[in-house]
Symmetry: C3
Subunit: 137 residues, 3 copies
Protein backbone atom coordinates (compact mmCIF):
# COMPACT_ATOMS: atom_id res chain seq x y z
CA UNK A 1 0.00 0.00 0.00
CA UNK A 2 1.25 3.47 -0.88
CA UNK A 3 0.33 6.59 1.01
CA UNK A 4 0.87 10.27 0.34
CA UNK A 5 0.32 13.40 2.44
CA UNK A 6 0.32 17.03 1.46
CA UNK A 7 -0.85 20.28 3.05
CA UNK A 8 -2.19 23.28 1.14
CA UNK A 9 -2.05 26.71 2.76
CA UNK A 10 -4.93 29.12 2.17
CA UNK A 11 -4.94 32.82 2.92
CA UNK A 12 -8.19 34.39 1.78
CA UNK A 13 -8.58 38.11 1.24
CA UNK A 14 -12.21 37.98 2.35
CA UNK A 15 -13.85 36.71 5.50
CA UNK A 16 -16.21 34.51 3.44
CA UNK A 17 -14.80 33.03 0.27
CA UNK A 18 -15.11 29.86 -1.85
CA UNK A 19 -11.96 28.79 -3.71
CA UNK A 20 -11.53 26.01 -6.28
CA UNK A 21 -8.75 23.59 -5.34
CA UNK A 22 -9.29 20.74 -7.84
CA UNK A 23 -6.01 21.44 -9.66
CA UNK A 24 -3.91 21.31 -6.48
CA UNK A 25 -5.53 18.01 -5.48
CA UNK A 26 -4.94 16.58 -8.97
CA UNK A 27 -1.28 17.64 -8.74
CA UNK A 28 -0.95 15.94 -5.35
CA UNK A 29 -2.45 12.77 -6.83
CA UNK A 30 0.02 12.89 -9.75
CA UNK A 31 2.91 13.40 -7.29
CA UNK A 32 1.72 10.42 -5.22
CA UNK A 33 1.96 7.98 -8.11
CA UNK A 34 -1.14 6.21 -6.75
CA UNK A 35 -3.33 4.63 -9.45
CA UNK A 36 -6.18 3.05 -7.44
CA UNK A 37 -7.34 4.13 -3.99
CA UNK A 38 -9.06 6.82 -1.97
CA UNK A 39 -8.18 10.51 -1.63
CA UNK A 40 -9.26 12.38 1.51
CA UNK A 41 -9.29 16.19 1.37
CA UNK A 42 -10.24 17.99 4.59
CA UNK A 43 -10.01 21.37 6.20
CA UNK A 44 -7.64 21.26 9.18
CA UNK A 45 -9.68 24.08 10.74
CA UNK A 46 -13.13 24.15 12.29
CA UNK A 47 -14.47 27.32 10.68
CA UNK A 48 -13.97 26.21 7.08
CA UNK A 49 -15.06 23.43 4.75
CA UNK A 50 -13.96 21.28 1.85
CA UNK A 51 -16.83 20.34 -0.44
CA UNK A 52 -17.69 19.31 -4.00
CA UNK A 53 -20.15 21.22 -6.12
CA UNK A 54 -20.35 23.37 -9.27
CA UNK A 55 -17.72 25.86 -10.47
CA UNK A 56 -20.21 28.65 -11.17
CA UNK A 57 -19.90 32.11 -9.66
CA UNK A 58 -23.65 32.74 -9.44
CA UNK A 59 -24.09 29.56 -7.41
CA UNK A 60 -21.23 30.56 -5.13
CA UNK A 61 -22.95 33.87 -4.37
CA UNK A 62 -26.14 31.86 -3.72
CA UNK A 63 -24.25 29.59 -1.31
CA UNK A 64 -22.87 32.47 0.75
CA UNK A 65 -26.24 34.26 0.88
CA UNK A 66 -28.00 31.02 1.86
CA UNK A 67 -25.48 30.18 4.58
CA UNK A 68 -25.87 33.69 5.97
CA UNK A 69 -29.61 33.10 6.18
CA UNK A 70 -29.30 29.68 7.88
CA UNK A 71 -26.48 30.70 10.25
CA UNK A 72 -26.21 34.50 10.32
CA UNK A 73 -23.17 36.40 11.52
CA UNK A 74 -23.87 37.92 14.91
CA UNK A 75 -21.41 39.61 17.21
CA UNK A 76 -23.42 38.91 20.36
CA UNK A 77 -25.92 36.26 19.28
CA UNK A 78 -23.78 33.18 19.99
CA UNK A 79 -22.56 31.86 23.34
CA UNK A 80 -19.32 30.95 21.56
CA UNK A 81 -18.61 34.63 20.90
CA UNK A 82 -16.71 35.46 24.08
CA UNK A 83 -13.68 37.29 22.79
CA UNK A 84 -14.44 35.92 19.33
CA UNK A 85 -17.04 36.68 16.69
CA UNK A 86 -16.90 33.54 14.53
CA UNK A 87 -19.74 31.49 16.02
CA UNK A 88 -21.55 31.64 12.69
CA UNK A 89 -18.52 30.15 10.92
CA UNK A 90 -18.58 26.98 13.06
CA UNK A 91 -22.23 26.48 12.08
CA UNK A 92 -21.79 27.32 8.38
CA UNK A 93 -19.00 24.76 8.21
CA UNK A 94 -21.36 21.99 9.39
CA UNK A 95 -23.75 22.67 6.50
CA UNK A 96 -20.99 22.57 3.89
CA UNK A 97 -19.00 19.75 5.52
CA UNK A 98 -15.42 19.20 6.72
CA UNK A 99 -14.14 16.80 4.11
CA UNK A 100 -14.58 14.94 0.85
CA UNK A 101 -13.43 11.44 -0.02
CA UNK A 102 -12.77 10.99 -3.73
CA UNK A 103 -12.18 7.70 -5.55
CA UNK A 104 -8.87 7.38 -7.41
CA UNK A 105 -9.17 5.26 -10.57
CA UNK A 106 -6.52 4.91 -13.27
CA UNK A 107 -4.44 7.58 -11.57
CA UNK A 108 -7.23 10.18 -11.87
CA UNK A 109 -9.76 11.77 -9.50
CA UNK A 110 -12.81 9.68 -10.45
CA UNK A 111 -15.28 12.50 -11.02
CA UNK A 112 -18.57 13.07 -12.76
CA UNK A 113 -18.60 15.77 -15.45
CA UNK A 114 -19.24 18.77 -13.17
CA UNK A 115 -17.61 17.79 -9.89
CA UNK A 116 -15.05 20.30 -8.63
CA UNK A 117 -13.46 20.54 -5.17
CA UNK A 118 -13.75 23.79 -3.21
CA UNK A 119 -12.39 25.24 -0.03
CA UNK A 120 -15.08 27.18 1.84
CA UNK A 121 -13.70 29.85 4.15
CA UNK A 122 -16.08 31.36 6.73
CA UNK A 123 -13.57 33.11 9.00
CA UNK A 124 -10.75 34.15 6.71
CA UNK A 125 -8.07 36.79 6.21
CA UNK A 126 -5.55 34.53 7.97
CA UNK A 127 -3.48 31.48 7.16
CA UNK A 128 -5.25 28.12 7.23
CA UNK A 129 -4.44 24.63 6.04
CA UNK A 130 -6.04 21.85 4.01
CA UNK A 131 -4.88 18.24 4.31
CA UNK A 132 -4.68 15.85 1.36
CA UNK A 133 -4.15 12.18 2.26
CA UNK A 134 -4.13 9.51 -0.44
CA UNK A 135 -3.88 5.77 0.13
CA UNK A 136 -3.85 3.01 -2.46
CA UNK A 137 -1.40 1.43 -4.86
CA UNK B 1 -4.66 -4.35 -1.78
CA UNK B 2 -7.74 -5.06 -3.86
CA UNK B 3 -9.89 -2.38 -5.42
CA UNK B 4 -13.26 -2.44 -7.15
CA UNK B 5 -15.23 0.18 -9.08
CA UNK B 6 -18.82 0.18 -10.23
CA UNK B 7 -21.29 2.77 -11.50
CA UNK B 8 -25.03 2.70 -10.92
CA UNK B 9 -27.30 4.61 -13.29
CA UNK B 10 -30.35 6.34 -11.85
CA UNK B 11 -33.27 7.72 -13.83
CA UNK B 12 -35.95 9.06 -11.51
CA UNK B 13 -39.51 9.65 -12.61
CA UNK B 14 -39.84 12.64 -10.28
CA UNK B 15 -37.81 15.79 -9.88
CA UNK B 16 -37.34 15.11 -6.16
CA UNK B 17 -37.04 11.49 -5.12
CA UNK B 18 -35.26 9.35 -2.52
CA UNK B 19 -34.31 5.81 -3.61
CA UNK B 20 -32.88 2.96 -1.53
CA UNK B 21 -29.66 1.56 -3.03
CA UNK B 22 -28.38 -0.67 -0.21
CA UNK B 23 -28.93 -3.86 -2.21
CA UNK B 24 -26.95 -2.64 -5.22
CA UNK B 25 -24.05 -1.61 -2.97
CA UNK B 26 -24.15 -4.99 -1.19
CA UNK B 27 -24.06 -6.73 -4.58
CA UNK B 28 -21.05 -4.63 -5.63
CA UNK B 29 -19.29 -5.58 -2.40
CA UNK B 30 -20.02 -9.28 -3.01
CA UNK B 31 -18.68 -8.96 -6.59
CA UNK B 32 -15.52 -7.26 -5.31
CA UNK B 33 -14.55 -10.18 -3.08
CA UNK B 34 -13.22 -7.67 -0.53
CA UNK B 35 -13.52 -8.82 3.08
CA UNK B 36 -12.01 -5.90 5.06
CA UNK B 37 -11.79 -2.30 3.89
CA UNK B 38 -13.72 0.87 3.08
CA UNK B 39 -16.56 1.38 0.62
CA UNK B 40 -17.13 4.86 -0.84
CA UNK B 41 -20.53 5.57 -2.43
CA UNK B 42 -20.96 9.02 -3.98
CA UNK B 43 -23.19 10.84 -6.38
CA UNK B 44 -21.23 11.76 -9.53
CA UNK B 45 -23.55 14.77 -9.92
CA UNK B 46 -23.81 18.02 -8.02
CA UNK B 47 -27.58 18.22 -7.63
CA UNK B 48 -28.02 14.89 -5.88
CA UNK B 49 -26.84 13.11 -2.74
CA UNK B 50 -25.92 9.75 -1.30
CA UNK B 51 -26.79 9.45 2.38
CA UNK B 52 -27.59 6.96 5.12
CA UNK B 53 -30.77 7.15 7.15
CA UNK B 54 -34.01 5.27 7.81
CA UNK B 55 -36.05 3.33 5.23
CA UNK B 56 -39.39 4.82 6.25
CA UNK B 57 -41.69 6.54 3.78
CA UNK B 58 -43.08 9.06 6.27
CA UNK B 59 -39.56 10.23 7.08
CA UNK B 60 -38.76 10.53 3.38
CA UNK B 61 -41.75 12.83 2.90
CA UNK B 62 -40.52 14.79 5.95
CA UNK B 63 -37.05 15.09 4.40
CA UNK B 64 -38.35 16.50 1.11
CA UNK B 65 -40.70 18.95 2.85
CA UNK B 66 -37.90 20.08 5.19
CA UNK B 67 -35.39 20.55 2.38
CA UNK B 68 -37.97 22.60 0.46
CA UNK B 69 -38.27 24.84 3.51
CA UNK B 70 -34.52 25.26 4.01
CA UNK B 71 -33.69 25.66 0.30
CA UNK B 72 -36.89 26.36 -1.63
CA UNK B 73 -37.30 25.92 -5.36
CA UNK B 74 -37.33 29.31 -7.05
CA UNK B 75 -37.26 30.00 -10.76
CA UNK B 76 -35.82 33.48 -10.33
CA UNK B 77 -34.56 33.59 -6.75
CA UNK B 78 -31.06 32.20 -7.35
CA UNK B 79 -28.21 33.82 -9.25
CA UNK B 80 -27.36 30.34 -10.53
CA UNK B 81 -30.66 30.18 -12.39
CA UNK B 82 -29.56 31.74 -15.67
CA UNK B 83 -30.93 29.32 -18.26
CA UNK B 84 -31.41 26.79 -15.45
CA UNK B 85 -33.82 26.40 -12.57
CA UNK B 86 -31.96 23.98 -10.30
CA UNK B 87 -30.26 26.37 -7.89
CA UNK B 88 -32.24 24.88 -5.03
CA UNK B 89 -30.96 21.38 -5.88
CA UNK B 90 -27.30 22.43 -5.43
CA UNK B 91 -28.19 23.71 -1.94
CA UNK B 92 -30.37 20.74 -0.96
CA UNK B 93 -27.52 18.41 -1.88
CA UNK B 94 -25.19 20.15 0.61
CA UNK B 95 -27.61 19.45 3.47
CA UNK B 96 -27.92 15.77 2.59
CA UNK B 97 -24.28 15.27 1.56
CA UNK B 98 -22.43 13.96 -1.52
CA UNK B 99 -21.10 10.67 -0.24
CA UNK B 100 -20.96 8.00 2.43
CA UNK B 101 -17.99 5.91 3.49
CA UNK B 102 -19.00 2.53 4.91
CA UNK B 103 -16.77 0.07 6.75
CA UNK B 104 -16.43 -3.38 5.20
CA UNK B 105 -16.00 -6.13 7.83
CA UNK B 106 -16.17 -9.86 7.17
CA UNK B 107 -17.26 -9.19 3.61
CA UNK B 108 -20.36 -7.25 4.73
CA UNK B 109 -21.37 -3.58 4.90
CA UNK B 110 -20.71 -2.97 8.60
CA UNK B 111 -24.03 -1.35 9.51
CA UNK B 112 -26.06 -0.65 12.59
CA UNK B 113 -29.56 -2.18 12.68
CA UNK B 114 -31.37 0.61 10.80
CA UNK B 115 -28.72 1.99 8.45
CA UNK B 116 -29.76 2.01 4.78
CA UNK B 117 -28.10 3.83 1.86
CA UNK B 118 -30.18 6.20 -0.24
CA UNK B 119 -29.76 8.20 -3.41
CA UNK B 120 -31.33 11.64 -3.05
CA UNK B 121 -32.34 13.21 -6.36
CA UNK B 122 -33.16 16.93 -6.37
CA UNK B 123 -33.11 17.61 -10.14
CA UNK B 124 -34.26 14.39 -11.70
CA UNK B 125 -36.12 12.96 -14.67
CA UNK B 126 -32.78 12.36 -16.43
CA UNK B 127 -29.94 9.89 -16.33
CA UNK B 128 -27.44 10.29 -13.51
CA UNK B 129 -24.69 8.14 -12.04
CA UNK B 130 -23.54 6.90 -8.65
CA UNK B 131 -19.96 5.70 -8.08
CA UNK B 132 -19.07 2.77 -5.80
CA UNK B 133 -15.36 2.39 -5.03
CA UNK B 134 -14.18 -0.29 -2.61
CA UNK B 135 -10.61 -0.78 -1.40
CA UNK B 136 -9.29 -3.38 1.01
CA UNK B 137 -8.30 -7.00 0.94
CA UNK C 1 -2.77 -3.93 4.55
CA UNK C 2 -3.83 -3.89 8.19
CA UNK C 3 -7.35 -3.28 9.39
CA UNK C 4 -8.87 -2.68 12.80
CA UNK C 5 -12.45 -2.48 14.05
CA UNK C 6 -13.84 -1.26 17.33
CA UNK C 7 -17.25 -0.26 18.67
CA UNK C 8 -17.88 2.38 21.31
CA UNK C 9 -21.11 2.25 23.31
CA UNK C 10 -22.78 5.53 24.24
CA UNK C 11 -25.53 6.01 26.78
CA UNK C 12 -26.39 9.67 27.16
CA UNK C 13 -28.25 11.05 30.14
CA UNK C 14 -29.95 13.69 28.00
CA UNK C 15 -32.04 13.45 24.87
CA UNK C 16 -29.76 15.96 23.11
CA UNK C 17 -26.08 15.82 23.98
CA UNK C 18 -22.67 16.35 22.37
CA UNK C 19 -19.82 14.21 23.71
CA UNK C 20 -16.10 14.38 22.91
CA UNK C 21 -14.71 11.03 21.74
CA UNK C 22 -11.24 12.01 20.45
CA UNK C 23 -9.44 10.11 23.21
CA UNK C 24 -11.29 6.86 22.54
CA UNK C 25 -10.52 7.12 18.82
CA UNK C 26 -6.84 7.85 19.56
CA UNK C 27 -6.73 4.78 21.83
CA UNK C 28 -8.26 2.63 19.08
CA UNK C 29 -5.63 3.93 16.66
CA UNK C 30 -2.84 3.09 19.12
CA UNK C 31 -4.30 -0.39 19.61
CA UNK C 32 -4.45 -0.91 15.84
CA UNK C 33 -0.72 -0.36 15.34
CA UNK C 34 -1.52 1.36 12.04
CA UNK C 35 0.94 4.13 11.11
CA UNK C 36 -0.39 5.40 7.76
CA UNK C 37 -3.96 5.11 6.52
CA UNK C 38 -7.54 6.28 6.98
CA UNK C 39 -9.74 6.13 10.07
CA UNK C 40 -13.53 6.08 9.64
CA UNK C 41 -15.67 6.97 12.67
CA UNK C 42 -19.44 6.74 12.19
CA UNK C 43 -22.60 6.55 14.19
CA UNK C 44 -24.24 3.14 13.74
CA UNK C 45 -27.61 4.82 14.37
CA UNK C 46 -29.69 7.15 12.26
CA UNK C 47 -30.66 9.71 14.89
CA UNK C 48 -27.12 10.64 15.90
CA UNK C 49 -23.95 12.04 14.33
CA UNK C 50 -20.19 11.90 14.45
CA UNK C 51 -18.58 15.23 13.55
CA UNK C 52 -15.45 17.32 14.02
CA UNK C 53 -15.55 20.81 15.46
CA UNK C 54 -14.44 22.83 18.48
CA UNK C 55 -14.32 21.59 22.10
CA UNK C 56 -16.04 24.66 23.54
CA UNK C 57 -19.18 24.45 25.70
CA UNK C 58 -20.64 27.75 24.48
CA UNK C 59 -20.45 26.56 20.90
CA UNK C 60 -22.09 23.26 21.85
CA UNK C 61 -25.04 25.14 23.34
CA UNK C 62 -25.15 27.20 20.13
CA UNK C 63 -25.19 24.01 18.05
CA UNK C 64 -28.14 22.50 19.94
CA UNK C 65 -30.12 25.76 19.85
CA UNK C 66 -29.42 26.18 16.13
CA UNK C 67 -30.39 22.60 15.28
CA UNK C 68 -33.62 23.07 17.22
CA UNK C 69 -34.37 26.11 15.06
CA UNK C 70 -33.58 24.37 11.75
CA UNK C 71 -35.29 21.07 12.64
CA UNK C 72 -37.52 21.59 15.68
CA UNK C 73 -38.82 18.83 17.91
CA UNK C 74 -42.48 18.26 17.20
CA UNK C 75 -44.64 15.45 18.54
CA UNK C 76 -47.15 15.68 15.71
CA UNK C 77 -45.38 17.75 13.04
CA UNK C 78 -43.58 14.91 11.26
CA UNK C 79 -45.10 12.10 9.21
CA UNK C 80 -42.39 9.86 10.68
CA UNK C 81 -43.85 10.30 14.15
CA UNK C 82 -46.30 7.42 14.14
CA UNK C 83 -45.63 5.72 17.46
CA UNK C 84 -42.35 7.66 17.66
CA UNK C 85 -41.42 11.26 18.34
CA UNK C 86 -37.87 11.42 16.94
CA UNK C 87 -38.52 12.82 13.46
CA UNK C 88 -36.50 15.90 14.34
CA UNK C 89 -33.50 13.73 15.28
CA UNK C 90 -33.31 12.17 11.81
CA UNK C 91 -33.17 15.68 10.32
CA UNK C 92 -30.70 17.11 12.84
CA UNK C 93 -28.37 14.22 12.12
CA UNK C 94 -28.26 15.16 8.40
CA UNK C 95 -27.03 18.67 9.27
CA UNK C 96 -24.27 17.38 11.55
CA UNK C 97 -23.36 14.35 9.42
CA UNK C 98 -23.08 10.59 9.98
CA UNK C 99 -19.33 10.11 9.85
CA UNK C 100 -15.85 11.54 9.68
CA UNK C 101 -12.84 10.19 7.85
CA UNK C 102 -9.55 11.16 9.47
CA UNK C 103 -6.07 10.77 7.99
CA UNK C 104 -3.62 8.64 9.98
CA UNK C 105 -0.01 9.85 9.67
CA UNK C 106 2.93 8.66 11.74
CA UNK C 107 0.57 6.67 13.95
CA UNK C 108 -1.43 9.77 14.93
CA UNK C 109 -4.81 11.27 14.01
CA UNK C 110 -3.61 13.88 11.53
CA UNK C 111 -5.45 16.89 12.94
CA UNK C 112 -5.25 20.66 12.80
CA UNK C 113 -4.77 22.45 16.14
CA UNK C 114 -8.45 22.60 17.16
CA UNK C 115 -9.99 19.53 15.59
CA UNK C 116 -11.82 17.27 18.05
CA UNK C 117 -14.22 14.41 17.32
CA UNK C 118 -17.71 14.47 18.82
CA UNK C 119 -20.68 12.19 19.07
CA UNK C 120 -23.90 14.12 18.57
CA UNK C 121 -26.92 12.47 20.18
CA UNK C 122 -30.38 13.70 19.18
CA UNK C 123 -32.54 10.89 20.59
CA UNK C 124 -30.67 9.68 23.60
CA UNK C 125 -31.17 8.12 27.04
CA UNK C 126 -30.58 4.67 25.55
CA UNK C 127 -27.64 2.57 24.40
CA UNK C 128 -26.17 3.39 21.00
CA UNK C 129 -23.01 2.45 19.16
CA UNK C 130 -20.20 4.17 17.25
CA UNK C 131 -18.02 2.26 14.78
CA UNK C 132 -14.30 2.89 14.34
CA UNK C 133 -12.70 1.24 11.31
CA UNK C 134 -9.06 1.88 10.46
CA UNK C 135 -7.24 0.61 7.38
CA UNK C 136 -3.61 1.16 6.44
CA UNK C 137 -0.24 -0.23 7.32
Amino acid sequence: MKNYRKELTMNTRQRYQLIRITDQVQQALADSGIQEGLCLVNSMHITSSVFINDNESGLHADFLEWLEKLAPYSRSGYRHNVGEDNGDAHLKRQIMGREVVVAVSGGQLDFGPWEQIFYGEFDGCRSKRILIKIIGE
